[in-house]
Symmetry: C2
Subunit: 496 residues, 2 copies
């Protein structure tokens, strides 16, 4: 019993200290004065070292060895197994590398902000090169799988492998390209549908909050702020923070961004706070996390039923500015398919192509088959090949995303996995909730939120993504539900 108490206490401490790191990252992007960056890097490094020390503490390693599945109930064992996995990984990575990664990425993030603003890839390249080197070293230290990339991927999508992700992506790429060509050929795709106008930030914000409230987001346990790259961080299930960014010319970016992040936020708020520190209060994987944001952003908030209720309300909030748009034309406008160089502005059809490009590039970077200097050229070439466009500059190209600057390599594929999972989960939810579209058309979303809470959020990480998808759909991850969803949706919209 003493060993079990020690394990539980340490497990809780680690979770709390990691959540402090999450809060420091939020603060850095949302609140911190810019000059604070160097100090923040040192704070993060100091804390990352503490976490690493506590995780690799010989007393913990010994304690975990005496805790065996036969002596614990299943939930208890799941927690021990998960911590053992983390300890095993932590033991393999030297403390100095952990501290260096924490410190370099905190500084590199600031450099990325500057480089993106100034379109200065050469200025950022040395930072990225250093990060890629550190991540290669990290992967080699971890050495969990034959493929270096898989050791990094494991951190974000437990159980996933580059090989089968690559297989699925090679099915998706031509299928998405074909659909893109069919839409290009449709008569409706030629129409000019520009929603631009004057949409004051304050109204955008309050309309977004109204939608999020209807989704079930709990404002006593969350907030929404502004940051250049929208994100969601769950400091605890009772403290979940979203960000978005506003432009007065267009409300769609901020709105869909808020709904997307609130999809993540509902997942975090839906976890069982009583289980904090245990896998049962953690998300299954980033892919499953992304399934929640995509499901809300795309499957729900770009659908006809959703706007049947919300479009009149939107017109009230922005009187006069949408009068020339019928619901049908509005739906076409928010679902417009058109290749753009910017991932976060991409439509549902081309989005996957952005991810496939990044996945291929980061596999090659980590696998030493590509160097940082060539990135802008490789990026442009692939953009041309997959999307038929070239970015005008690096800010629109390789500098657009923050991930690599923060050391997040192996993260991008989870976005597309999220789309695939979302389609599978939504198909399943519709079976259980046959009147879902009617509810959505009345502005009622609590039924869907409740279903997700019961089946996806509340169980936490009692299984991996494959286990969750199999439990709910009886099948493994598949590409067909997503491709079907796109086909039905765009056939109807564009009369294909």
């Amino acid at each position: 019993m003493k060993v079990l108490d020690f394990y539980r206490k340490r497990s809780g401490e680690l979770a709390h200290l990691k959540s402090v790191l999450a809060g420091l990252a939020w603060d850095q992007e949302v609140m911190m004065p810019r000059a604070g960056a160097e100090h923040r890097a040192r704070q993060r490094a100091a804390l990352a070292e503490v976490v690493h020390e506590k995780l690799t503490d010989p007393a913990l390693v010994d304690a975990l060895e005496t805790l065996l599945p036969e002596t614990l109930e299943p939930r208890g064992w799941a927690g021990v197994r998960e911590l053992k996995r983390q300890v095993e990984k932590a033991v393999r990575v030297p403390k100095s590398l952990v501290a260096e990664l924490a410190s370099v990425t905190a500084l590199a993030y600031e450099q990325w902000v500057r480089a993106r603003a100034e379109n200065d890839f050469p200025g950022f390249a040395p930072w990225l090169r250093r990060i890629v080197e550190l991540k290669r070293r990290e992967a080699d230290c971890l050495n969990l799988f034959a493929l270096r990339y898989d050791s990094l991927l494991d951190e974000f999508e437990l159980g996933a492998r580059a090989s089968w992700i690559g297989d699925s992506f090679s099915v998706l790429r031509p299928a998405l390209t074909r659909l893109l060509e069919r839409i290009d050929g449709a008569s409706a795709s030629g129409e000019k549908l520009v929603l631009d106008g004057d949409y004051p930030t304050e109204e955008q914000r309050s309309f977004g909050m109204e939608v999020l409230s209807a989704m079930g987001f709990d404002w006593s346990a969350g907030r929404v702020d502004i940051s250049p790259h929208p994100f969601c961080v769950g400091i605890s299930p009772r403290d979940v923070r979203l960000t978005t960014r506003y432009t007065d010319r267009n409300f769609t970016r901020a709105l869909f961004g808020m709904i997307h992040e609130a999809g993540h936020g509902l997942y975090e708020q839906g976890l069982d706070a009583e289980e904090y520190g245990l896998p049962t209060c953690e998300a299954v994987s980033l892919g499953i996390h992304e399934s929640q944001s995509r499901l809300w952003e795309n499957q729900v908030a770009r659908s006809r039923p959703f706007w049947t209720h919300w479009y009149p309300r939107l017109k009230e909030v922005f009187p006069g500015r949408l009068d020339h748009f019928s619901l049908d034309r509005f739906l076409l406008a928010i679902n417009r398919v058109e290749p753009t160089p910017i991932r976060v502005e991409a439509d549902e059809v081309t989005y996957g192509l952005h991810i496939i490009l990044r996945f291929e590039i980061e596999c090659d970077l980590i696998g030493d088959r590509l160097d940082v200097e060539s990135l802008p050229e490789v990026w442009s070439r692939k953009m041309e090949e997959y999307l038929g466009i070239r970015p005008r500059n690096d800010t629109e190209g390789v500098l657009q995303d923050t991930h690599w600057s923060q050391g997040l390599v192996g993260y991008f594929p989870t976005y597309l996995l999220g789309n695939l999972y979302a389609a599978q989960l939504m198909d399943r939810a519709r079976e259980d909730l046959p009147r879902m579209d009617e509810s959505l058309a009345r502005g009622e979303m609590s039924e869907l939120t409740g279903w997700l809470r019961d089946h996806v959020h509340r169980p936490g990480r009692t299984e991996d993504a494959d286990g969750l998808i199999r439990r709910l759909t009886g099948e493994p991850m598949r590409t067909e539900p997503f491709l079907n969803y796109l086909d039905v949706k765009y056939s109807e919209l564009y009369g294909l």
Copy 2:
């Protein structure tokens, strides 16, 4: 040399982790959703435990024993001596008490917010009782001085003792009361001088920021937000955060609050970031810290020279609302002497009486001569005796300040010490800067900021408060300069 490296690394780690704790406290008061409080309490407890572990680590204790004054240059020795002092104190307080204090105070803060809003002292009393008990235990563990209160006071005002503070306060109390009576008797004191009107928050904020910029506050290394109880936290010299609170009816509270906190903020920004982790990058004491905020808020920003420049600008920002106030009447209005139950709204004459009351009460609480239940009654009785008024309820009385809810016992006297130090420092600055008032009247404050930076901020904690005051004035702490300053100022204002 190895020992010295270890000491330096640990010293830096400790400073960084403590600054994370400071950031968590800022976030809790300014940003955190209310439901996050329980988790925040656990985060703070976990981190406080880590700090305590690192401070009491036998390897550090051993290392410090081998570092001696004769082997180090003076600044290096000052750092070692300071850390030794901290280690000695930390070793005396059990880790469990540290964690309990961190956790209880984080929760009690939330209870105080609620209790103050709902005027519910009985609901808060059990929390305060628990805190007083824990602080008594802490003082007994520390056992630095014969008097329990002195062991707590030492944390905020190194070198101070309740006995000599009490002696000074017993000189101040009758002197302040006499001045109050003289002002009451003056004809000008009967005049109605109400600045209330309609002052939108946004204009208040931008005017305040304009003043702070002129004071030299660096916005690239700081920010200002809103919180119920204004404060300043220096996460590092490059990340200094102020708060204030706005009411549309009156701009004075937010403005003087901002200037006060910016006085603290300039001190934090003026410390030497290169020395981070060493006493040379720390404030001397809370009393000296408060001297900086008081000096700016009162000696500068309630003076005629200051408003000679800023009053026309203020009238521009709020057109029409101050037309009926000449500069003379405006100065009378912002320096109006009138007993109020609320400390943070008190004028310069009665402010000290609020502090003397709190100092006496907390001495008695910690000394076991007073229990929490009797607080409201004792509070009212002393208010009547010292200020001639009684609070209408506990929100206006014992619940008004956050300090005790956060475990800050021994903190209050530093506010009044700050007033005394401010007067001594300002007298000295005027000797060096004979044209200061002319500069202020032109809106130029950089001369004064520069003087403070060179003589007070930049040296950091290379001496204690007594050392600093003696170095700059050639005398110890004295009450006369403050009483003289008040006498001259109010004699002129009220024609006494």
